[in-house]
């Protein structure tokens, strides 16, 4: 029998026992819906986490230091041979030329004293200063941002952490865990105002001759003077959380555009080393290399190591996380499939009932020349059709259930925790295709026994007068 005849006969059979077959199909639909809902929850959470982690700037970055430093700091690591390559401007350029690298910036850290321009000098506040690259604009910290991002990477502008802004305004300090967010009114008191930074500058130039060195050390270009400087900074924004916290240590309350921060030649903690061992030119303590996508991290890390630097990334942690999500998805999938397994019993039941009802009809078909295979295939097509319809229905229902629960969860979170709406659910095209295919496969499997039973039916028995 031709396929279209088979489909037509199967379709007519399904319509004949319409209610029963609709209920069975609905059962499959519910099964598929539970599978889709479960797996899309897993996928959604995974996406949400990786998006958040991606925005944290930890998983698409490689932290680069000169070799020696790491060995000294991590005694457990095997000693690397060869003279360490300096992490200087040429190294920075080389890092920037590695394919897939989108940004290389210095992990700038310095300290300074701050006061509002209008405030008295004794109202100064001490803070750690950090540098932010332009890409930090996408960081999750800026989701709750009051103000504007830097107009350029070289502008004398500053973004403050809310906790520090409180101190500047003379507001009472909140405990660390509390919501630090300022009111719009409080923020308006700061935005556009000048903040005066007092800092220590590395001033190039000959040092005063040392007592034990009458010949002087004018040939030592690494030597520098420390000069106290002041710089006015325009306050452009206030953030609640520290953006691109990354590998920074301590609470960095004042954030400058990284290029501008570097141009100030502030004394950084690492400079102490260059005082002890004279070196040529400017050195970075460490650099952050940012890649376009987190999966490019391992190869970029490898390239950096080939260049002779020590590279470190959180990729391993991220890989572990991906594995954990795979396991979660699998378990959710298994639980979701249980309902489909129960639904498949419905198919077996419906088709076995159909054999009893259509016993005579099967006998007639066989007498008219239907082969065992023809009879079997008609039952298979019936089971498969219920699978396709149930699967499609289930995907729709699963998607809808997901939307509804997502909406409900967001309402709850917004009301109780004041959290932003998120997508916990994600129905990918692959999930849709997989769910329908799985539904068809399960249905065909369920049709196996009824189909072969129908095919084995003895036509003489089936046609006996009753």
């Amino acid at each position: 029998m031709k396929l279209y005849d088979m489909v037509e006969l199967a379709g007519r059979n399904l319509r004949e026992a319409g209610l029963r077959n609709s209920l069975t199909t609905l059962g499959i639909g519910v099964g598929v819906a539970s599978l889709v809902a479960m797996v899309s929850l897993g996928l959604g959470l995974e996406r949400l986490f990786s998006k958040q982690l991606g925005r944290s700037g930890l998983f698409d970055s490689v932290f680069v230091t000169a070799r020696q430093e790491t060995r000294a700091l991590r005694p457990g690591q095997p000693a690397e041979t060869g003279p360490p390559k300096p992490l200087d401007d040429s190294a920075r350029k080389a890092l920037g030329e590695i394919p897939d690298v989108v940004e290389v910036y210095s992990n700038f850290t310095a300290v300074g004293e701050f006061r509002l321009e209008a405030a008295k000098p004794e109202d100064s506040h001490f803070s750690i200063i950090g540098g932010l690259p332009p890409s930090a604009r996408g960081s999750e910290a800026f989701d709750e941002f009051q103000g504007q991002f830097y107009s350029s990477d070289n502008s004398a502008e500053v973004i403050l952490l809310a906790q520090f802004a409180r101190a500047l305004l003379g507001l009472p300090q909140q405990p660390q865990s509390a919501d630090q967010k300022l009111t719009q009114e409080q923020v308006n008191q700061l935005l556009g105002k000048n903040l005066i930074l007092r800092y220590a500058e590395r001033s190039a130039g000959p040092p005063p001759p040392a007592a034990g060195d009458p010949a002087g050390s004018s040939s030592d270009t690494s030597a520098f003077n420390v000069v106290r400087r002041e710089q006015a900074l325009k306050i452009v924004g206030v953030v609640t959380n520290e953006p691109y916290r990354g590998m920074r240590q301590g609470m960095t309350s004042v954030l400058l555009p990284v290029s501008f921060a570097e141009s100030l030649n502030m004394v950084q903690p690492g400079d102490v080393r260059s005082l002890i061992s004279p070196t040529q030119g400017k050195r970075y303590n460490s650099l952050t290399v940012r890649v376009a996508r987190s999966k490019q991290v391992p190869q970029v890390e490898e390239q950096i190591k080939k260049l002779g630097f020590t590279a470190f990334s959180l990729m391993d942690a991220s890989r572990g996380l991906a594995l954990a999500f795979k396991i979660l998805d699998t378990f959710l999938g298994i639980f979701g499939s249980l309902a489909l397994v129960v639904a498949s019993l419905g198919i077996v039941n419906t088709l076995v009932m159909a054999i009893l009802e259509r016993r005579r009809e099967i006998g007639i078909m066989k007498a008219l020349g239907a082969s065992d295979g023809d009879v079997k295939r008609i039952f298979f097509v019936e089971a498969g059709t219920m699978g396709v319809l149930g699967g499609s229905l289930g995907v729709g229902m699963g998607w809808l259930i997901g939307r509804i629960i997502n909406f409900g969860a967001n309402q709850y979170l917004q009301r109780n925790l004041d959290a932003k709406p998120q997508d916990f659910w994600y129905v990918s095209l692959w999930l849709v295709i997989f769910a329908v295919l799985f539904s068809v496969l399960v249905s065909l499997f369920a049709g196996l026994y009824p189909a072969s039973r129908a095919a084995r039916l003895d036509p003489v028995q089936a046609l006996r007068h009753d």
């Binding site: 007519r12 078909m365 066989k366 007498a367």
Partner: protein, 239 residues
Amino acid sequence: MQTNGDEAVRTVSLVRHYKLGRSIIRAVDGVSLAAGRGEFIALLGASGSGKSTLLNLLAGLDRADSGAIVVEGKDLATLNSLELARYRRHTVGMVFQSFNLVPNMTLYENVELPMRLAEVRRRDRKARAREALEKVGLSERMKHRPSEMSGGEQQRAALARALVNEPKLLLADEPTGNLDSKTGTEIMDLIQGLNRSLGMTVIMVTHERPLAERYAHRMVFLSDGKLLQEVENKKGAAK
């Protein structure tokens, strides 16, 4: 086994036993029978004489325990189940006492069913179904369901269905058993007409001797699965 050119059906020492509990029922017990092309044979006998079993064996719905059946040169014992299905599709047409139309199909769909199984091209089906239904006088009722028709009409529809794949052998199992005598006669006239006009070999099971005498060329009497007697019937042949 060979049959001569004019032979449509030949059975040789055909045996079909059933187990019923501990006892063995010898439904067909060594029947040797031959039917020529275009012959009209009536199988007669009391209930349980084995005539229906013999018909099922000829139809390829059942398999013999021993002996041979050759229909149109095909030895049914050598055919696998797929080939046997093909044999039923193309070589044999069947009519039953209880008509056996598919109740939820229209008349047209019932007649189309053997053509679906035989993979007749879709565009040819309608014409062939109409032609078959015209032969039995039902071409106006293609859209009706069996439940909307009388017994005689249903049996005529069943005949149209049996004819539509142009089989060489028509097997009829008590075709008038559920009909009144007038309608029964109509059906028998139709079968006889097909036998004569198309040269179709007809083997009919009946327990009504007068009917057999009126239409069959030869009457074969069965009892307890054995062939009891064969009687040439000049009256049937002459009519």
